[in-house]
């Protein structure tokens, strides 16, 4: 019985199968090797359980399947569409009594069938050689792969049907898979490099337009909470890809319907997309080549020097001009394009220079933007000198100090920049230590502002004595030492119901002392409670401050290790404090009754009960000697109950 539909032609399909045999056979062989040979060996010789086989099956489609689907869908679409790219072949095909819809959908279905039927058969074979694997994993494996193939085939078909030259569709497909990610990365570099204080996150808003990267970023294989198997995350995203793939296939069909046979050998056959291609290519080259040129001809040559907008303007203009001329050459299929295109080229370069000017002059007010105190919901200030971020809320009453710090930094922009590139010299009589200060505002309208600045927070005089830069020091200190900020910063230390103490250790430095001590679990609660009092009265300071304060013969640096466990998730925190010896906390830490073991010379009384780790015999019997706490030690084991010491919060 013959097939009566105008959307499929069996003769074209048969020809397609035959023509693409080397490609789909390779694809099938790879899957067979991975799923039956590798998987079969794994099942036979290592005898993993169903869960581990499931992990293997899902990982193959996550790691390898993405690349397989992307490459083979693209390559097969290219081969089956290449009749569009020569006048004789397109003439031959379009003169045949076959409608375009039949040519298109037959080729489209051919790609799907030659990729998915062997995959399905491989899945069945895998079920035989991997009896441990439950069928659900293999079904999941196949369904994941189906959605990837449908998406990438639709994407490749669009690329193939808007281009008119052999190979260009495949190249365009390859470029478009990564272009958005690359361009956004370059734009982030530009923004953070030339807009003072502008910070960029690791999130890429254009990631969905870079599907290969996005699959790896959005999806994954994770262990179930009960540990009884693995699951592929990102099913929702793959469903979206499936829908997008079908939409792209429909778009490819629309482009094919509108395509003129005479446009074979054109680089871009879809006339409406030619200006888009020209200007997108120009802009892309301006950004990407501009960044590359800037690096090679400015940054690498001048080393640690100030960003140069002028150099970048030249680099982007050259990159943009190359892009514009290349696009014109490709579209006009001629090397001689300058004579007719110089006006467009000049306009493109002018736009690029205007953009550079806009960045330089901060036309959009990005650099100078400081929110009004009344608009701020919260602000977080971070500085490497403090091992916590200072979260400031309106009720703390110090948001104006955050804003003041921000405006002070901006007011001193020229000063900061002028000394940044000479910071290691003593030319000004001082050697500056630049520190990162990040300020993150969460505004009441839901938006955020993130800024990061490198400011000369400290400087050393010629005697190499460190001083705090008075321009910033007071403001920073006011923010970080605010009681409310401290309470928030060390919330886990006070949260004794959820965070257990897993260790408390001290280092003693200065004068005649240089040693180490760890403390009994029985004293953990007392230490935690006294830290709070010390932070309030200033006898305990955040972080490790090795320089002893005036009048102190030595310093005590306390490390507190806390852990919160929820199911199999473990949240481990480390906190360092510098403790004044004559403080209440100092008294606890200097009492040998509280110490379980020590080494070196300590200014501690009643040490005779503690174990000395300097004694080799004692060291042999105590396996914890010289070891740092490692959260991994507790993997899979519940925390020891002796570490639980809830105390009432006195504050």
């Amino acid at each position: 019985m013959s097939l009566k539909t105008s959307f499929f032609n069996p003769t074209i399909a048969k020809k397609g199968f035959k023509r693409t045999m080397p490609l789909w056979l390779t694809h099938a062989v790879i899957w067979v090797l991975v799923m039956t040979v590798v998987g079969g060996n794994l099942a036979k010789y290592y005898d993993p359980g169903a869960e581990e086989m499931g992990n293997f099956i899902l990982m193959t489609v996550y790691i390898g399947g993405t690349l397989m689907a992307a490459f083979f869908s693209g390559a097969l679409s290219e081969v089956l569409s290449n009749y569009l790219y020569s006048p004789s072949s397109i003439g031959f095909h379009h003169a045949l009594p076959i409608k375009r819809e039949a040519l298109f959908f037959t080729n489209y279905l051919t790609v799907l069938v030659v990729l998915l039927v062997p995959a399905a058969l491989t899945g069945l074979a895998a079920a035989v050689v991997m009896p441990q694997a439950v069928g659900g994993y293999l079904l999941s494996w196949f369904w994941i792969y189906v959605r990837m193939v449908v998406f990438f085939t639709g994407f490749a078909m669009v690329c193939n049907h808007i281009t008119g030259h052999v190979g260009i569709g495949f190249v365009l497909y390859g470029i478009l898979n990564f272009a958005a990610f690359l361009v956004e990365g370059c734009l982030k570099f530009i923004m953070s490099h030339f807009l003072y204080g502008f910070t960029v996150g690791y999130d890429y808003v254009t990631m969905p337009f870079s599907p290969i990267i996005n699959i790896y970023a959005k999806c994954g294989v994770v262990c179930l909470e009960d540990g009884m198997g693995y699951v592929f995350t990102g099913q929702g995203y793959l469903n979206i890809l499936l829908a997008v793939g079908l939409v792209l296939a429909a778009a490819a069909w629309m482009f094919y319907r509108a395509r003129r046979s005479e446009d074979s050998r054109e680089i871009i056959s879809a006339h409406t997309l030619r200006p888009v291609f020209k200007y997108a290519f120009t802009a892309g080259c301006a950004v990407v080549l501009g960044v590359i040129f800037y690096f090679f001809f400015h940054e690498f040559r001048s080393g640690d020097s100030a960003p140069s907008v002028a150099a970048f303007a030249v680099a982007t203009s050259v990159g943009g001009a190359i892009g514009y001329i290349a696009a014109e050459m490709l579209l006009k299929k001629s090397m001689k394009v300058l004579k007719r295109s110089w006006k467009g080229l000049a306009a493109a370069v002018a736009v690029i220079l205007l953009c550079n000017g806009a960045i330089s002059l901060d036309v959009f007010g990005v650099v100078g933007r400081i929110p009004d105190v009344d608009d701020i919901e919260s602000a977080t200030v971070t500085n490497y000198s403090y091992d916590y971020g200072a979260v400031v809320m309106p009720e703390d009453g110090i948001l104006d100090k955050v804003v003041s710090l921000h405006s002070t930094i901006l007011e001193n922009k020229e000063y900061n920049e002028s000394i940044y590139y000479d910071r290691y010299s003593y030319e000004n009589g001082k050697r500056y230590s630049f520190e990162s200060i990040t300020i993150e505002y969460k505004l009441k309208n839901g938006s955020t502002i993130n800024r990061q600045y490198y400011v000369p927070l400290y400087y050393y005089d010629k005697a190499d004595v460190m001083h705090t830069n008075e321009v910033y020091g007071t403001l920073i200190d006011d923010i970080f030492s605010d009681p409310n900020v401290l309470m928030r910063a060390y919330a886990p230390v006070w949260d004794v119901n959820n965070y257990y103490t897993t260790g408390a250790y001290c280092d003693f430095y200065g004068g005649a002392f240089n040693g180490y001590a760890d403390y009994d679990a029985a004293v953990y609660a007392k230490i935690r409670q006294t830290i709070k009092e010390g932070l309030m009265d200033g006898t305990v300071k955040s972080g490790r401050n090795y320089g002893a304060d005036e009048g102190q013969p030595y310093v005590i640096v306390l490390r507190l290790e806390l852990c919160k466990q929820e199911g199999y998730d473990r949240d481990v925190r480390y906190y360092d404090f510098t403790v004044a010896p004559d403080s209440p906390l100092g008294a606890i830490l200097l009492d040998g009754e509280n110490i379980s073991g020590y080494s070196g010379d300590l200014p501690v009384k009643n040490l005779d009960k503690a174990t000395s780790y300097d004694d080799p015999a004692a060291a042999e019997t105590d396996p914890t000697v010289g070891q740092e706490f490692d959260a991994g030690e507790l993997d899979g084991e519940p925390l020891p109950t002796t570490a639980v010491e809830p105390v009432q919060d006195p504050v």
């Binding site: 020809k15 009594p97 046979s261």
Partner: protein
Amino acid sequence: MIELKNVTKTFDGFRALDGLSLTVPTGGIYGLVGPNGSGKSTAIRHITGIYRQDEGDVLIDGQNVYENTDIKRRVAYISDDVYAFLSASVKDMKDFYRGIYPQFDLKRFEAMKEAFPIDEKKAIRHLSKGMQKQAAFWLAMCCRPDYLILDEPVDGLDPVMRRRVWSIIMGDVADHGTTVLVSSHNLRELEDVCDHVGIINHGKVLIERSLSELQDNMVKAQVVFEGERPDLSSLNILHQSAVGRIETLIIKGSQEEITAKMSALRPLFFDLLPLTLEEIFIYELGGDEYELKDVVL
């Protein structure tokens, strides 16, 4: 019947067809001639449904051709640049055509093996240009088309094969009423086979007539007058030349009319010579501004 009515086609601002109209009667051989770039191949690509016209109608038996599979199934097309799938042999292409053209005549394919001495298992792309043309004819004729569209069909064929090919085509025209549209530069060849001719230039058909009409409309005369040449202004002389006292005149008009007028002038010698298609085109259009040097080989 093939009809093109006021068809226009523009490529990047260049008007390749400029209101072109032509009519190919059913069951005849229509020769489409014109200089390079005149629009012959473009017109043919519209007739075969490859190109979509910007304006106008392209009809076969009154139906639009573009995306009309019922019509295209009755049309076979041999382009000037023969296409075959990569590494496909005549046998492979036969199988392909059988799937596409339901009326593909397998018996005829076998019968034509003798006419076309080609290794049917050898890749067509590895054959010589002439052999590729033969393969294209072989396959096209087996599709039993009602309409055969040929673009520069016999380029590359040796004289014996040309004769054989034309013999097969004319046999189909005579036996099956096949309609043939052929474009060519070779006017002498067309003269032997065409019953209708259309000349095309700058995307327009300039003249479209049957060959006999064209030949009836113009005569080539040799004449010798005694003494001074009489006044010939009553004749529409398109071209004249003389060797000694013998004048050769190309005169527009019917043979009877010109014979009567000449006889009245009492020449010493008067004879009518046959006009070739080439001469008809040259002298018919010579007065116009058309570039004719490319029309004629």
